[in-house]
Amino acid sequence: MTTSATTASAVSVRDLRKNYGAVEATRGVSFDIFPGEIVGMVGDNGAGKSTLTKMIAGDVAPSSGEIRIGGTLVQSSSTTWARDHGVEMVYQDLALCDNLDICANIFLGREITQRAFIGHWKLSHDTMMAKAQNLLNMLEVKLPNLREPVTALSGGQRQMVAIARSVAYEPKLVIMDEPTAALSVSAGQPVLDLIRRLPQRNVAILLISHRLSDVLTTADRILVLRRGKIAAAVRASEIDEAELLRLMAGINVPNED
């Protein structure tokens, strides 16, 4: 919970701008997220949330400004680079392979292999099973059988698998893009509980959501984005939903910056 300014930030964004032709999606955004911190990001459609997250995830190249991941300056935008340097994304659309089992999904793209009899690389099923079980135990996620295809899981359980997968390789930052949008409120609750447990793993979380109540109850700090700029940065404990809505819409903004 202690986030002093002296600790190295997990992600640091300085004066980030992106133009699509004449349209300015973001107009100079700066912020830091520290390890073990959940930062919520809210804003109306078109405020620049998705452009901003895509730039951090390496999906879109910024027009100007800089991004540092764990202190390392991002030189060229690439999702693989971002992933290798500890930026993970969790998407709203439960992005798992339905036909693969839970264990296979957790390790997808990063399977653990070993040398086998004719010198080929063979998947280490036992190691992956043990590691997956270990991870889920630590995150206090209870799932029936890890060899069950994820089709058999509920939406909430799937999203928890997706989140477990995102923290499996000790990332610096996990960007969660509307992680509860596809879920009912009751199904989303265990997912939010899981997100709240993640800072214990010293990971920084950027939580984007349209459900303001989710952001208010889950995040430590909230960044309000409006027309490509950060309109306000507030502590979640010091604000209510109505005030947050006013900030998003730009009505009666307490003019500080």
């Binding site: 798992l96 997808l108 135990n137």
Partner: protein
């Protein structure tokens, strides 16, 4: 640190016990499916045997495997393409083109059989990669790319051959599809495979050899019974008068490698991941385009190998061969449980699907029934197999 899988809370002594885990549920489901398919095939064999009196004989069953091998090799390649949400309609035309090439290389260019086989396989891979490359680079659905291939490759087969059938490839080439391993070697191979399977089975499920690795499930007993039955049948068919035909040996090796890869290699797992959710696969860092390209290359190689078997069997390379083989290979894959929508299907199922279809053709011709009826039966079989799948999938939900 040891992780207990499926252990009850509070059991202290469990920490020393070996981990006995459940095998993949998806694997178990597809195993049952294949067992049913094998059951259906056996029923067809028995039925035809009662009807014709000669169906279940070493001679006929040996012929049957060679007849099925051509479709089965194609069905195996198509199975993985379908699993990865791709399709290839051009395999029949590629087969004809490669068959024509085999004869041209040997007769007109005077190249020996071994080199011819190598060249034709490389040309098959090349055409597969070309189609895969067009699919990936241009983003045109593989249905359309290979529909074009269906046409231009067939045209090329006619152009190259001058619409004439070259025949007589020489003894070496003839042996490829018509030769067999010696009987004693065949017996040794069968017994060795049976022993290896028995060993791994005992090791996995009983704890008699080393620690037990997997839970005992009914499906595994059925698999053991089938394996023993198949070994006995194989000894009778392939170790009494004629040995294991070369095409069957190749097919067996192919099925083993592909089934093994599907479960134990990254490549195999990614084929299924792409079929399950291409976006998720891409986001996970899987190079989907390269995987698709590889699968088309593999399909090209398999089509070329099927062409070599076909040409050797006929001892001729007619440009009009295999007009419908793309559709029968597709039918075999689907009867074998491959989904047209991707993510689902196993090579073993596709190959048994091909065997089942070949059994019907073979049985009807033994019974002296017109082959037209075989087409009607295949059609009915497709609908029965797919609707049975749908019914089975709806039940557990």
């Amino acid at each position: 640190m040891n992780v207990k899988v499926g252990a009850h809370a509070g059991s202290v002594q469990a920490a020393v016990e070996p981990i006995v885990s459940r095998q993949s549920l998806e694997l178990e489901r597809s195993n049952w499916r294949i067992i049913i398919l094998i059951g259906a095939t056996i029923a067809i064999w028995v039925g035809f045997h009662i009807w014709t009196g000669v169906f279940i004989s070493p001679r006929n069953l040996s012929n049957l495997t060679v007849q099925a091998a051509i479709t089965a090799v194609l069905a195996a390649g198509l199975c993985w393409l379908l699993v990865a949400r791709e399709i290839d309609l051009s395999v029949g035309s590629l087969l004809a083109m490669c068959g024509v090439l085999c004869m041209l290389l040997m007769q007109k260019a005077g190249i020996n059989a071994y080199l011819t086989i190598l060249i034709v396989i490389f040309i098959g891979i090349g055409i597969g990669l070309l189609q895969g490359g067009l699919r990936v680079k241009l983003g045109i659905p593989s249905f359309i790319i290979t529909l074009a291939g269906f046409s231009w490759l067939r045209g090329l087969a006619y152009v190259l051959s001058g619409a004439e059938t070259l025949s007589g490839a020489g003894d070496t080439f003839y042996e490829v599809a018509n030769g067999q391993f010696p009987v004693l070697l065949s017996l040794a191979i069968i017994l060795l495979l049976a022993a290896a399977h028995l060993y791994s089975w005992l090791r996995a499920y009983t704890g008699l050899i080393g620690p037990q690795r997997f839970e005992r499930r009914p499906v595994n007993l059925v698999i053991l019974a089938l394996s023993i039955g198949a070994s006995a049948l194989a000894v009778w068919v392939f170790a009494t008068r004629r040995g294991i035909p070369y095409p069957l040996a190749f097919l067996g090796l192919l099925v083993f490698v592909m089934e093994y890869s599907a479960r134990n290699t990254r490549f195999g797992r990614y084929v299924y991941a792409i079929g399950g959710n291409p976006t998720s696969a891409r986001r996970s860092g899987i190079n989907v385009d390269r995987m698709v390209l590889c699968l088309f290359g593999l399909m090209g190689a398999l089509a070329a190998i099927a062409a070599i078997i076909q040409t050797s069997r006929l001892d001729a390379g007619p440009p009009n061969v295999g007009l419908f083989v793309n559709l029968s290979a597709l039918s075999a894959a689907i009867i074998g449980g491959t989904s047209l929508f991707g993510g689902e299907g196993r090579v073993l199922g596709a190959v048994i699907g091909a065997l089942l279809m070949a059994s019907i053709t073979n049985g009807l011709s033994l019974a002296g029934v017109d082959t037209f009826y075989q087409m009607i039966i295949t059609g009915a079989l497709l609908i029965v197999a797919v609707s049975a799948d749908h019914a089975a999938q709806r039940r557990p939900k």
